[in-house]
């Protein structure tokens, strides 16, 4: 890829945005920064699922499992031995986890790596299944991971979860990890390997006849997706500072799936947009869970109302715009130029 005008524009935008974020504290409140960080983390999760589902066509519902693994592994890495000794009250933490203590970035990578390793173990039996069966099997695996976390008390502190995870995930580091994910996936997906993955998605038989090791690439895509899910999970853990097994239920997978579907299956920029818009909407819709006074009638606050609205939104997307915001297209400088009516070729 020779450096051209568009590459330059992209890098300049990335730097400019980074600069803007480094000054964010001057013009954004704590709550807004919290949301922006969540958007970045959700974008990583959406991108990783998009690689698996959008580009390779594997309907995986096990994302929450990989996110959980990433969050737990990184939390174990990042907490100091003393903190861990204090926190594990049900059963003492076992070696080597008790002595594990690494810098933030290593803990994030470790979270991703362990998630990817688990993905290999899961992939080998499960990826031989297709479509719906794959969804059911991965859903089951995510549940297994959750149950293991609940019961492996000497490692995970069981259902009490892990609290007081140091908040290393600053705005800039979240942005950095999102960029890292985006660049790795974009380079892969926009190279011929991306074409190969899409060919597997569209027509597996044709891919096999073209000499493509279909199973190998499915495993690769699944593990890479799991790696970034683990990275996202690690960031989520330090961002929220508390993790417990209940967080990583099917609803989390559902949320990530919603980002991907709303953004457009098979579009990286779509995933970014989907994660951004839906994260904001999810926060904004908290208002409807509070008691409302509509003048004539007074509505009591109904907890869970947010998800009702959201499920309806998802239903509407699937009914009226199945391809999502972007479809399989990407937001490029060319298309942006066209949008503003001065597209140059």
């Amino acid at each position: 890829m020779r450096p051209d005008r568009n590459t330059f524009l992209t890098i300049a935008t990335m730097l400019l945005f980074g600069l803007l974020l480094s000054q964010a504290e001057t013009f954004l409140g704590d709550y807004q920064i919290y949301i922006v960080k969540l958007i970045f983390i959700n974008a990583i999760l959406a991108l990783s699922l998009n690689l698996i589902y959008g580009f390779t066509g594997m309907f995986s519902l096990g994302h929450a499992g990989f996110i959980a693994i990433g969050a737990y592994v990184s939390a174990l890495c990042i907490l100091s031995p003393e903190q861990k000794e204090m926190m594990w009250i049900l059963e003492p933490i076992i070696w080597p986890f008790s002595e594990l203590f690494t810098p933030f970035w290593i803990s994030v990578l470790a979270g991703g790596a362990v998630a990817a390793l688990c993905a290999i173990v899961i992939a080998v039996p499960v990826l031989r299944l297709g479509d719906d069966y794959l969804g059911i099997a991965t859903l089951g695996f995510a549940e297994i991971i959750r149950v293991v976390i609940v019961n492996a008390t000497p490692v995970t502190n069981g259902s009490l979860g892990i609290k007081g995870i140091p908040s290393h995930a600053t705005l800039l580091s979240c942005y950095g990890w999102t960029l890292f994910t985006l660049v790795v996936l974009a380079r892969l997906v926009f190279s011929n390997f991306g074409n190969v993955l899409r060919c597997i998605r569209d027509n597996e038989i044709a891919a096999r006849v073209m000499g493509i090791n279909v199973f190998g690439y499915k495993v690769l895509s699944f593990c890479l997706g799991a790696f970034f899910a683990g990275v996202g999970g690690a960031l989520l853990g330090t961002h929220l500072s508390t993790i417990d097994p209940k967080m990583f239920n099917f609803l989390l997978t559902f949320n990530v799936l919603m980002f991907v579907v709303a953004g457009g299956l098979g579009s990286l920029t779509g995933s970014l947009l989907g994660a951004g818009i839906i994260t904001i909407l999810l926060e904004w819709l908290r208002a409807i869970e509070e008691p409302m006074d509509l003048g004539i009638i007074e509505l009591p606050g109904i907890p869970g109302m947010r998800m009702v609205v959201f499920s309806l939104v998802l239903l509407a997307i699937i009914l009226y715009r199945r391809e999502g915001i972007m479809g399989t297209r990407e937001l490029t400088w060319k298309s942006l130029g066209g949008l503003f009516g001065r597209g140059k070729k």
């Binding site: 660049v183 380079r187 190279s191 899409r198 569209d202 027509n203 891919a207 096999r208 073209m210 493509i212």
Partner: protein, 286 residues
């Protein structure tokens, strides 16, 4: 002498003469011997013998359900036959995966076109180039120069092949939006991108008008010479088969009923009966 290479039965007679057999193996690119494929109680292909020398264009014809496509699926590795052997380039490919067989130099197209409709013409062809690539996947995120050089090579090769199948102007179009004939040509281009020695074409002229079929005939001849290919095709269009093939096998109910050069096959009463029905054979006074 020339004829004898085609005929398996004759070859068998001389199989004890080692010298002759070695000479045959270098010349024969694809050899199927007594291949039998059964699905449950149905025998789709029974005792099929084929021997295809390098550099030829040969055809398999036969009425619907004769087992032609099953034969193709066996040759390209989708089915493993219960009996018999398939030797490609001196290697027994029975039980190998389709991907392996493609790597060994066999490419094929499909009766029902199998392209990625949402991908562009160029991207579809580039998928075919993948099997010959040297750089592994992890070089992509690292952005190594060697990787981009190869990526550029693949793109260039894709462009050239698109030009070769007269799709140079449609390179950025979605494959699904192309007319039927163009999709067929694209599928051939994608198969060529895998750098094959043997190309299997499953009904390449299906759904084409007479002019397109005629063009296709010439096209098949040209790509054979240009890429040094051996071509085996299944076809219903008799004009195409008779015009382009140097040798023809005729199948009916899973078995070979006749073989020979087009003229021999054309005048074979069994073929006329099987292919055109009883009436035609009566009309011809056979």
């Amino acid at each position: 002498m020339e004829e004898s290479r085609w005929l398996v039965r004759e070859r068998k007679k001389v199989s004890d003469g080692t010298l002759r057999r070695d000479a045959d193996q270098t010349d024969t690119l694809l050899q199927a011997t007594n291949v039998t494929m059964r699905f449950g109680g149905v025998t789709a292909v029974s005792g099929l013998d084929l021997a295809l020398p390098k550099g030829r264009i040969a055809g398999i014809i036969g009425p619907n359900g004769a087992g032609k496509t099953t034969a193709f699926n066996i040759l390209s590795g989708f089915y493993t036959p219960q009996e018999g052997s398939v030797v490609f380039n001196g290697v027994d490919i029975r039980g190998r995966s389709p991907a392996d067989i493609c790597r060994m130099g066999m490419a094929r197209t499909f009766q029902n076109i199998r392209l990625s409709p949402q991908m562009t013409v160029l991207e579809n062809i580039m998928v075919g180039c993948h099997v010959r690539r040297r750089c592994p996947w992890w070089m992509a995120p690292l952005g190594l120069p060697a990787f981009y050089r190869e990526e550029e090579e693949i793109r260039e090769k894709g462009r050239k092949l698109a030009q070769r199948v007269h799709l140079a102007d449609n390179i950025a179009e979605q494959a699904g939006s192309l007319p039927y004939g163009a999709q067929r040509r694209l599928e051939i281009a994608r198969a060529l991108a895998t750098a094959p020695e043997l190309l299997l074409l499953d009904e390449p002229a299906a759904g084409m008008n007479p002019q397109e079929s005629l063009d296709l005939m010439h096209f098949i001849g040209h790509i054979r010479d240009e890429f040094g290919l051996t071509i085996l095709l299944i076809e219903h269009d008799m004009k195409v088969v008779m015009g382009v093939c140097q040798y023809i096998w005729v199948m009916e109910y899973g078995a070979l009923i006749a073989q020979g050069d087009p003229d021999t096959v054309r005048s074979n009463p069994d073929v006329i009966r099987a292919y055109l029905g009883e009436e035609a054979s009566l009309e011809k006074g056979l």
